[in-house]
């Protein structure tokens, strides 16, 4: 009987119940949306760094440190034969040396990065290097990223001088031709980086079969003469940023949950407040307190279930649609974060489920609490509408 009374009370409240459900559903949608966008931002940035630079980890020349450019020349090693024989999809050989670029009579210190041109492990816009057929005795083909091009005022087809040191320390220089400006996605391999073919760079510096590191699809065990650096190690700074960001996102989650809580609690309290006389009448008719509490709590549970259903009905098409168009963050493209122009939300089922469970219990609790309070008082107070103020 309790269930049928609760169902009848809920279904016949009309606009009041509908608004209650709608407010809660919209709060749930906003909560899920914000969390998913934040997750999407992190997931996308991580994916971009992995797909353009880190892959499944690096076998690096011992002592090589990307933050010590003056030592890059001292930390190169010859690639072992068995690694050279790995599939191009499983490895990418990289040689990193320092150099100076002279755009428009300015000196611009750069990282010269040579990469095996047949590799397909890292997703890089370097096809123009592959297609360039000129002899490098005349000019060296190079690709720079969008950010680098902007900063150094470079454009496709520009010719400018690049200076480097060869294996024996002798300084050499030659003109390079910018054959393409590529969207690198990842600022760490864009700003200050000049991309060359690995065979060209080896030739220029007399470093036959030398690499600074080999990016691999998967760890293949210890390799003599190399140190393996895992994804976690290589992305330590970004992961630390994400960890901090996760704390921030927890705070954001807590803020959003608090807003949802306040909204739900306020709506439920207002609802119960308006029904004090009804509760008093039920008490006067002889319904015992526990039963009244059960009925109103069931009504709250019904509101919560409907809110979840409505949030699913409204939210699902919205989330699917939004997954398609994404969120424009082109204003962030100037930042140092490895993200695209558009962020796509990343829906984490567990995160959504526990947020929904909390909202559900919150609605039930915010129905239970005020009614429990009212039924503890004398029925006369409820009948006068003075049980809660």
């Amino acid at each position: 009987m309790n269930w049928s009374i609760a169902k009848k009370n809920f279904s016949r409240q009309g606009l009041r119940a509908s608004l209650n459900v709608l407010v809660t559903a919209l709060s749930i949608i906003a909560l899920v949306f914000m969390l998913s966008l934040l997750n999407g931002f992190q997931a996308q940035a991580t994916r971009n760094v992995v797909s353009t630079d880190v892959a499944g980890g690096h076998y690096r020349a011992p002592g090589f440190d990307i933050l010590s450019p003056t030592e890059w020349e001292d930390h190169t090693v010859t690639i072992p034969k068995f690694i050279r024989q790995l599939d191009n999809n499983d490895k990418a050989e990289v040689l990193v040396l320092q150099g100076q670029l002279y755009p428009n009579r300015r000196l611009y210190p750069v990282q010269i990065r040579g990469i095996s041109i047949d590799q397909s492990l890292l997703k890089l816009p370097l096809n123009s290097l592959k297609n360039f057929s000129k002899n490098i005795d005349d000019i060296i083909p190079a690709v720079v990223g969008v950010k680098m091009a902007k900063k150094a005022h470079l454009k496709k087809g520009d010719t400018l001088t690049l200076k480097w040191r060869d294996k024996s320390g002798a300084v050499d220089a030659k003109d390079i031709l910018i054959v393409d400006i590529g969207d690198m996605l990842n600022p760490r391999i864009d700003e200050g980086v000049v991309w060359l073919r690995l065979d060209h760079l080896r030739f220029m510096t007399d470093r036959k079969d030398q690499v600074s590191w080999i990016a691999v699809q998967n760890y293949i065990g210890p390799v003599s003469g190399f140190e393996f650096q895992s994804i976690e190690f290589l992305m330590a700074d970004l992961l630390a940023l994400w960890r901090q960001d996760r704390i921030n996102s927890k705070i954001l989650w807590a803020i959003l949950m608090t807003l949802v809580c306040i909204s739900v609690f306020n709506t439920q309290m207002l609802n119960i407040f308006k029904r004090q006389k009804e509760i008093g009448t039920l008490m006067a008719l002889g319904m015992d307190s526990n039963r009244i509490v059960r009925i109103f709590t069931l009504e709250g549970a019904l509101a919560a279930i409907w809110a979840l259903v409505v949030s699913l009905l409204i939210g699902l098409p919205f989330f699917i649609w939004f997954q398609g168009i994404g969120f424009d963050v082109s204003h962030l493209s100037e930042s140092t974060l490895p993200i695209r122009e558009t962020i796509y939300p990343d829906y984490q089922p567990m995160e959504i489920i526990y947020s929904l469970v909390i909202v559900f219990f919150l609605i039930v609790a915010s129905s239970w609490f005020p009614v429990k309070k009212i039924t503890r008082l004398d029925p006369t107070m409820a009948l006068r509408g003075r049980a809660i103020k």
Partner: protein, 227 residues
Amino acid sequence: MNNKLISLKGISKVFKVGDEDFTALIDVNLEIDSGAFMSFVGPSGSGKTTLLNLIGGLDIPTTGDLFFKNIKLSSMTRNQMAQYRRENIGFIFQTYNLLPVYSVYENVLFPLLLNGSKEKDAQDRVMDIVNKVGLSDQIKKRPSQLSGGQCQRVAIARALVKDPVLILADEPTANLDSKNSIQILELMSDLNKQYKAAVVFSTHDEKVTRYVRREVGLEDGKIISDK
């Protein structure tokens, strides 16, 4: 045969209003017989409604004892008090207090369901009472679709449907015009004779005094007359 339905012995009621104590009833002694048709009369603040609430088990006295058929109400638990109201008392309120989302039929049916009846067993009883209060053509309407007089008739039907021994009506005519007030009073008088339930009004409506068989006057929480 003991005809005594309610006995009040030395009843006092004190309310806390902010930091102040407000004494609503002082040493009230009273007996109400089965089948009575009586009223508590007096100005606002004289203690009529408080007295009605105490008799109806909606409130408990500060001092004194209240008996229902020799059973002491003041020593009952909250659940026992709810059971007492459910089984023995019918309430009629000044503002009707009908359940807003229920139809006339459902409002009248509700006390029977609370007492454990099945709807199919209670249908005839509900229809009979609704007929008696003259609302058989309004059965599907909700309170918001009825006039004040019609709402009060529904409240009367709801109070009577479970065949209580006592009906407590708090200012039942206060929100009605003269014509409706008289109709309601005549209806209650007829039903009192027909159903034998004791009816106690709290009122300051002079029209009520023409219908009741006993009138208890209250002033400043004390009984000043009983005639």
